[in-house]
């Protein structure tokens, strides 16, 4: 992994931000290593944007400390922090050309105009927009505007680069391409980046680490793999990659392995420090195997809903465990609504869930 020569770590120590009676961020602590891309993920209103703005210095914490590198920046205003931000609305200055926009940070920092513009040209080339410098932002497509916004932030080679849902104004295809581009640039330049999104797929795709937030607190922090495989609680399990939450029972624990009874099916799962008794289990939709051959061993259920989605089919199935959401990639063997099916569970894609946090 490259680490940019200026890339700095970001550290929150018990940071709280309240707007009057509304607590947007409650006592959160985390550390972001230099040169990594960390995603803040969570449902609407959970405090992601506020966290980002706290890093940028656009909000001052109500309590707690914020460090960038080794420096305490808690009271430092945005102007004096070496942090740049790419806004959801891009926030390109409509009265300036693309080149002036990109060079803005340099010129207000005191660089001579010709130098600043030369450097801005280079930056535009980096994001694949050479030759667009003289246009106004209004004369660009959404994706191009997005790149200008990135170039404008990159040009200052900030200690930390922030993205607030940078792709949410783009269509699905472009979103996929742009997120690859952003990730490549970030890797190449080794920038410390914090990326806000509420799209879990986007988060899994671009991040080194993910911080999942819920109701103003951190629900879980970890690598995409950890979060997906070992969700700390029901919320995370459900938010990342959908999950069916069902009640089950741990029959016995043997070292690291627990024998769990889910309906009439037994599975051996990592026990995660739990002891025998009632337990919540998260089952990924693709880990449920349906078959119309009812002679197969398993639970019996019936198809309530079937939605054809091209490369897969989504089923809602009534079962002894309750309603289950199932994804089936065998599009050819579609089951009709009302069909009686037998339900089996795959070996992977099932996790024990720790108590609600």
């Amino acid at each position: 992994m490259t680490i940019g020569y200026k890339a700095a770590s970001v550290q929150f120590q018990g940071v709280t931000k309240a707007f009057g009676p509304v607590v947007a961020v409650r006592d959160i602590s985390f550390t972001i290593e230099p040169g990594t891309l960390v995603t803040l993920l969570g449902p609407s209103g959970c405090g992601k944007t506020t966290t980002l703005r706290l890093i940028a210095g656009l909000e001052m914490p109500t309590s707690g400390r914020i460090l960038i590198g080794d420096r305490d920046v808690t009271k430092l205003p945005a102007t004096d922090r070496d942090v740049c931000m790419v806004f959801q609305s891009y926030a390109l200055f409509p009265h300036m050309t693309v080149l002036e926009n990109v060079a803005y940070g340099l010129t207000v920092g005191g660089m001579a105009k010709p130098d600043a513009h030369a450097k801005a040209e280079d930056e535009l080339e980096l994001v694949g927009l050479e030759g667009f410098g003289e246009r106004l932002p209004s004369e660009l497509s959404g994706g191009q505007q997005q790149r200008v916004a990135v170039a404008r932030a990159l040009i200052l080679e900030p200690e930390v680069l922030l993205f607030d849902e940078p792709l949410s104004n783009l269509d699905a295809k472009l979103r996929r391409r742009m997120r690859e581009e952003i990730r490549d640039l970030q890797r190449k330049l080794g920038l410390t980046s914090v990326y806000v999104t509420h799209d879990q797929e986007e988060a899994l795709a671009v991040s080194d680490r993910i911080i999942v937030m819920n109701n103003a607190v951190i629900a879980q922090e970890g690598s995409p793999h950890e979060l997906y495989e070992n969700p700390a609680n029901v919320f995370v399990a459900d938010f990342i990659g959908d999950a069916n939450l069902v009640k089950a029972e741990i029959m016995s624990v043997n070292g690291e392995i627990a024998v769990v009874r889910i309906g009439n099916i037994e599975r051996r799962l990592p026990c995660r420090g739990l002891s025998p008794g009632e337990v919540d289990v998260a089952i990924r939709p693709a880990a449920i195997i349906l078959s119309n051959d009812t002679s197969v061993e398993g639970m019996e259920g019936s198809v309530l809903k079937a939605t054809y989605l091209g490369n897969h089919i989504e089923y809602t199935v009534d079962s002894p465990l309750g309603e289950l959401f199932v994804i089936d990639y065998q599009v050819d063997a579609a089951l009709p609504r009302g069909a009686t099916v037998s339900i089996d569970l795959a070996e992977r894609g099932i996790t024990l869930v720790l108590d609600e946090a």
Binding site: P77, T79, M85, F87, Q88, S89, F93, Y104, G105, S138
Partner: protein
């Protein structure tokens, strides 16, 4: 941060040790003091005042200026630096003010200090350059200290701006108003006399109800209230009629209606009164005609309630129109269509849906007309006759045969109470509601056509009125070319020559016309105040739209307050407050500029708020995160996008400075006479010809100025091509 401290320290020390501390006799911009500088007692800086002239009480100010040096040398980012700055600034401000008020022209300013410290042989004058700079330094030390403590995200510029605006509002709006209140509870020898206050306040000539039972007149307060109510109701109804015509009928000449709305902005209000006299006065056109045709004896019926009402209706109907056109347009057509689909006919839809939806807007227009009428000074002055209203009575209590400052203050107090109540009602009760029906955009329906009988009614009301307005403006534009109204209607250029003649003398051009002096003064004062008005108004708007801080509501109220203070009240407040040290500026041009800036500030604030709310906040934030200070952001990002609002604020600042009369008439002096007060003087001498020709010239000049301002400030925006739409409406993250 430390650079800013250094800057203001330098300013503070320049003010304390270099420039004359006291105001110089020959005016703020006079430079004759250079002669005696720095040794003479008049022009010495504070340091020498302390050392050579025994004014030891100025010493602590210097000490407060020493403390911030510590911050500069050792402070850096240390926490104690904020405390030092705040203490030095706060103490400095408080002490400088206190000594200014405590020691005045006659030694101690307050009796109780004199009894405590004994008599003081020395005295001091109004504050001058030096004191102003030192004040600025203390103010910004205080705000920098607060910013360092983390106020408003630690933004030095924003905290400083808030401090500045608050200080200015306190000095030039609150202090004069407070002076009135103080003066109202004193007798004319400045002794505290609450009993006298109540006697004056409750006196019969203010509140008497004799007109109900006898032929005597009622109290002035009732006169004013009656007039304001009639005008408020009248302008609202006519304004509504015009608004309905403009939006809901097939009326062709809608453009002309829009022109009607510009005219009152560029017309000094009393000029309408003047035209009304020429039309309906004893020897006016109408009376002369009636006498010639029907032998009807001319009378003075126009003087008094009918005349004032007519003139104010003509002057203020366009304001109601402007307000109501927004209200009428804002009613969502789909609501009316919903009514129609529920089987109501046009008339029922109008009375049960449209009208109730407009109710808050109507109340708003009424209150505006009410306030304007109460505050109007020029029309009652020229047309009042025996009908006394508050605004003119205040004036006559100051300049009339019986000077009674206490009475003026009491009357001002009553008038202020009326307008502030109306203002308060308008904001608290209607401020939000009046826009409740405006959905913003994208409502595809069609407005329901007005019921026929209503259409005819409003045509019948509005069109004759429009015709009358047209006649009045013809009188204003062409009245100056007539020899003597009522007697000799032959064409002449005499009045224009008398006012605006230019001769070539031995030394080139001689501006020999009688009006030139006041004309140039007016232009100069208006040209100076317009940018200041726009500047402080937009700065206040920026703070209001973009910043969150404790006490923001009070701040907003303060910036809008002067809208509700009648000019006469401000005028007398300024006289009471600024005739004596520490701020002694009556008789100068400065007081006129300050008066205009703070009276017209609400217009700049409103224009700024409207424009700035449409600019996405993330533009500012992007600029901040890119390392620009908020001042740079304001300059490079916000200002260029605000061009239309800047134009509006400049135009209003300029035009209203040229047309104002009520406050001005208290503040003009021999050196600084303004066009409006000059014209009014001519009217009082019945020199109508010159008055009306001067007025028409003013109107033409203002129209020219509006076009000029639009060219200069507005074109740059256009040359930026069509990038306006984008980003201004970008969605907030």
């Amino acid at each position: 941060m430390n650079k800013t401290v250094a800057l203001w320290l330098a300013v503070g020390w320049a003010g304390y040790a270099v420039l004359p501390w006291y105001a110089i006799d020959d005016g703020f911009f006079g430079f004759a003091w250079f002669g005696g500088f720095p040794a003479s007692i008049d022009s010495a800086p504070a340091t020498l005042q302390v050392m050579d002239h025994g004014r030891a009480w100025l010493l602590p100010i210097g000490l407060a200026l020493v403390a911030p040096l510590a911050v500069l040398w050792r402070g850096g980012d240390k926490p104690w630096a904020a405390t030092v700055l705040m203490t030095a600034g706060g103490f400095g401000l408080a002490y400088t003010l206190a000594q200014g008020f405590a020691i005045g022209l006659g030694g101690w300013g307050f009796g109780f200090i004199e009894s405590a410290f004994g008599e003081l042989s020395d005295r001091q004058f109004g504050m001058g350059y030096g004191a102003v700079l030192v004040f600025g330094a203390f103010l910004f030390f205080l705000t920098q200290g607060m910013a360092k403590r983390g106020a408003i995200n630690g933004d030095v510029f924003v905290v400083g701006s808030i401090g500045l605006v608050i200080a200015l509002i306190a000095a030039f709006i609150l202090f004069p108003v407070a002076s009135i209140l103080i003066s109202a509870v004193q007798d004319n020898d400045e002794n505290f006399a609450p009993a006298l206050f109540f006697i004056k306040l409750l006196s019969r000539d203010i509140w008497g109800l004799d007109c109900l039972t006898s032929r005597l007149t009622c109290g002035i307060a009732w006169n004013s209230l009656l007039m304001a109510t009639l005008v408020g109701a009248g302008t609202t109804m006519l304004g509504l009629a015009f608004a309905l015509i403009a939006t809901r009928t097939g009326f062709r000449a809608k453009k002309i209606l829009r022109v009607l709305t510009v005219l009152p902005i560029v017309t000094p209000p009393f000029v309408i009164g003047l035209a009304v006299i020429l039309l309906f006065g004893r020897s006016g056109v109408v009376n002369t005609f009636l006498e010639w045709a029907f032998d009807i004896e001319p009378t003075r019926w126009i003087y008094g309630l009918p005349g004032i009402w007519l003139a104010q209706m003509l002057a203020f109907t366009p304001i109601a129109f402007l307000v109501l056109i927004g209200v009428v347009e804002g009613i969502s057509p789909s609501m009316e269509e919903a009514g129609l689909t529920l089987r109501a006919d046009n008339w029922r839809v109008f009375t049960t849906v449209s009208l109730p939806l407009m109710r808050p807007g109507l109340a708003n227009a009424f209150l505006l007309g009410f306030i304007e009428s109460l505050a109007d000074f020029g029309n009652p002055l020229v047309l009042g006759g025996e009908y006394d209203v508050l605004s003119t009575s205040i004036f006559f209590a100051i300049v009339g045969a019986l000077v009674d400052q206490g009475r003026a203050a009491v009357l001002a107090f009553v008038l202020l109470a009326f307008t502030l109540s109306a203002f308060y009602a308008q904001r608290r009760w209607l401020g939000r509601k009046s826009y409740a029906t405006i959905t913003g955009k994208g409502d595809a329906g069609l407005h329901v056509r007005l019921p026929r009988r209503l259409t005819w009614t409003i045509y019948a009301a509005a069109l004759p009125w429009a015709a009358l307005t047209a006649v009045i403006y013809c009188m204003i534009m062409f009245g100056g070319f007539v020899e003597t109204w009522g007697f000799d209607h032959s064409f002449t250029l005499r009045h224009y020559i008398e006012a605006f003649s230019i001769e070539t003398g031995r030394y080139g051009l001689v501006w020999s016309g009688a009006a030139w002096n006041s004309f140039w003064t007016t232009l100069e004062i208006a040209a100076i105040s317009a940018p200041l008005t726009a500047g402080i108004g937009l700065l206040a708007a920026y703070i209001l739209v973009r910043q969150r801080f404790v006490g923001k509501d009070a701040f907003e109220f303060g910036t809008m307050l002067s809208f509700a203070i009648p000019g006469t009240v401000i005028g007398i407040g300024y006289i009471l407050a600024f005739n004596v040290p520490p701020i002694e500026i009556t008789g100068t041009g400065i007081i006129l500029v300050i008066c205009f800036v703070f009276r017209n500030m609400p217009v700049g604030v409103r224009a700024g708020i409207a424009a700035m709310s449409q600019i996405d906040k993330s533009l500012d934030e992007a600029s901040l995160t890119l390392g620009a200070t908020s001042f740079t952001t304001l300059r490079k990002v916000v200002m260029p996008l605000l061009r239309p609002a800047i134009v509006a604020a400049l135009v209003f600042g300029f035009v209203r400075a040229m047309t104002a009369i009520s406050a001005v008439i208290f503040l003009v002096s021999a050196n600084y006479d303004m066009a409006t007060s000059y014209i009014l003087g001519r009217v009082e001498n019945a020199d109508y010809g010159l008055a009306i020709s001067y007025s028409s010239v003013l109107i033409v000049v203002m129209l020219a100025a509006i076009i000029l301002i639009q060219r200069v400030v507005g074109t740059r925006r256009l040359s930026r091509r069509d990038g306006q739409q984008f980003g201004l409406e970008g969605s907030a993250a």
